[in-house]
Subunit: 365 residues, 2 copies
């Protein structure tokens, strides 16, 4: 573990202890113990125009032990915080599901269980994230895992030196937790993030990342926390532009949106997971016309149109370029997949489409 | 590419050419051209008791150009075979979806499209697999991708030497196509295949694969073709036992079943994807009692019971140990996840449960 992460580890421990100490002091002073938890409902989510990120507002709720409506959650909060402290102290990682099983028990002398459903312990983890401004990964609670990466980058991870340019056809499987990774050498002009693994494999086979001197990442669908955090760290710590490449549909654009601005249910950690400097290279609805892909589009379903209309109203999609694209999609009534580019030949994507658009900086903001 | 794969590549080309040549000869002889395709419907799927694998029976259907009901499929078969031949010749890989887009067009002078839906081209790929006994991966058509691996193994892939023991917390992302991988050094006593990534990460963190001198693979749900083929190749080429570890439910047991005996819709390639020597270590329903996990079980839903009853009737689940387990699950009416073991402590799985069961060879067949 590098010194950066060792320092942060101590800080995380300090904050978790602080939570317990505050409660202890309140009890000693004869007060009803409580914990302050920022409100995470939609009413408290804002779009920060300056930082270009979703964030939480300033509303805070008190969780009191002696309020019968809060007692159960109060108990759960302390259980989870104590468990996380133990994980960090022992340098042990686990999943949310494991934690749920590890903490579930019947309270002696009662018929009451500490937790009935995993949703209860999951929610408490987010409460602690927000209240103490620590990432779930920093509490050693691992998230879902998806995504792979290749590029001219050498990292140090758990004592191993891993060279992302020498991994054959497979690439490095991005773990759920990238907090402790150290970037030893990063030779790249930018990061290209692609939604689909098929496109990733095609580009990897053509050594497109080498020709372009970039880091190639696939999210394999909606970006998992580990991937978002990896993109964020690379972009910020190494000052790299980020280019995102998804299907031309509302689902693909939302993947972009989450990478760039953050997501609503994780608005409290946008500053650690979001990458506002990201740009969108395609596929756009305008591309369909420009590159003669009309015969390879898919008729949009009602749900596609509905979703596009929702995006139209999000504050972070108000730039005129996005408004035009979204309107165009609704008007044309079709969407298209990355694979549509293969109708122009299997190497069209790596030899024509992407090099042209990236060279000319034809991006959406 | 090793000489093994170069030789096989020429054989694949020869078989694809053969398909076209046969048709050409039939035309020259003034016959109605046809292609013989083995029947893949359930009526032609058998369980080979000796080889312990699902396989296709001997029924074959004629696909004739001059039979109006066959003409379209006949044309599609030749299109796909020609496309695959080109891929192999150019040493280019792509996905099924890309191929669909690349081959879809309107036949000049008509309003007829070569393909309307991807299901059509997907089906033709399987027809060619069966008719010519070549894997889809050998035609350079890549499958879905999932799964990661760590262990004391060095492979050569696309000229890179990749050491699976030095990949930090991430592991090697198993690609969709593992045909061309060469195993340079394999130091392992067995392969442990685990369904869930969370368990994989837990074991990886404890360096469990090092202590046990084994190769650790996670399928991340149902095993993708790439993972099944990798397990098969390691097991057969290096004579390694395979141990499978899944949730105690019908879905987990079916993952085991597919790794070991093959699946019904891919019965024609069981001999290349199946690994009959695989054994099942857990989680079993009997474990729940033995390891005091009753409080961490989940009530089985109707669909779980229904699925368990189906497994009871499969010829390949007739061994008495499996019959007992399946009956027990139906009787108890519960299932359990790997994470239930965490109720006994986060290291219970790697320090007690697995070492004990593996040491004592407590496996289901």
């Amino acid at each position: 573990m590098g010194s950066r992460s060792e320092e942060r580890r101590r800080e995380v421990l300090r904050r978790l202890e602080e939570l317990g100490k505050t409660v202890l002091e309140q009890i000693k002073e004869g007060k009803s113990p409580h914990i302050d938890i920022p409100v995470r409902s939609l009413s408290n989510i804002e779009f920060d125009e300056e930082k270009m990120m979703l964030k939480l507002g300033s509303k805070v709720a008190k969780r009191s032990f002696l309020n019968v409506a809060h007692t159960r959650k109060f108990m759960q909060t302390l259980l989870v915080a104590a468990f996380a402290k133990e994980l960090v102290e022992q340098n042990l990682h686990t999943s949310l599901r494991d934690m749920y099983y590890a903490l579930k028990r019947t309270i002696p002398g009662t018929k009451e269980n500490t937790f009935e459903e995993q949703t209860e312990s999951d929610a408490v983890v987010v409460d602690i994230e927000v209240a103490k401004d620590i990432l779930r990964e920093e509490m050693h609670l691992n998230a879902d895992v998806r995504g792979r990466v290749v590029g001219d980058v050498t990292i140090i991870d758990r004592g191993d030196e891993v060279d992302w340019s020498k991994l054959g056809s497979g690439g490095w499987a991005i773990p759920s937790n990238v907090e402790d990774i150290e970037f030893k050498e990063v030779n790249a002009d930018y990061i290209l993030v692609v939604e689909k693994n098929a496109a990733f494999e095609r580009m990897h086979e053509d050594k497109f990342w080498k020709k372009e001197n970039m880091i190639l990442i696939t999210t394999q669908g909606q970006a998992a926390r580990g991937v978002r955090r990896l993109i964020h760290r690379l972009a910020f710590e190494h000052n790299l532009p980020v280019i995102v490449f998804t299907d031309a549909d509302a689902y693909g654009w939302y993947i972009y949106s989450v990478i760039k601005w953050g997501s609503m249910n994780l608005a409290h950690v946008s500053d650690k997971l979001g990458t506002p400097q990201a740009k969108y290279v395609g596929l756009t609805i305008s591309d369909i016309d420009k590159y003669h892909l009309e015969n390879y589009t898919i008729k949009a379903k009602d749900v596609d149109i509905k979703r596009a209309k929702e995006l139209l109203n999000y504050p972070w999609f108000q730039k005129k370029e996005w408004q035009r694209e979204l309107q165009l999609m609704i008007k044309k009534g079709y969407k298209a997949e990355l694979e549509a580019l293969s109708s122009r030949g299997l190497r069209f994507m790596t030899q024509t489409y992407l090099p042209e658009k990236i060279e000319n900086k034809e991006f959406l903001p």
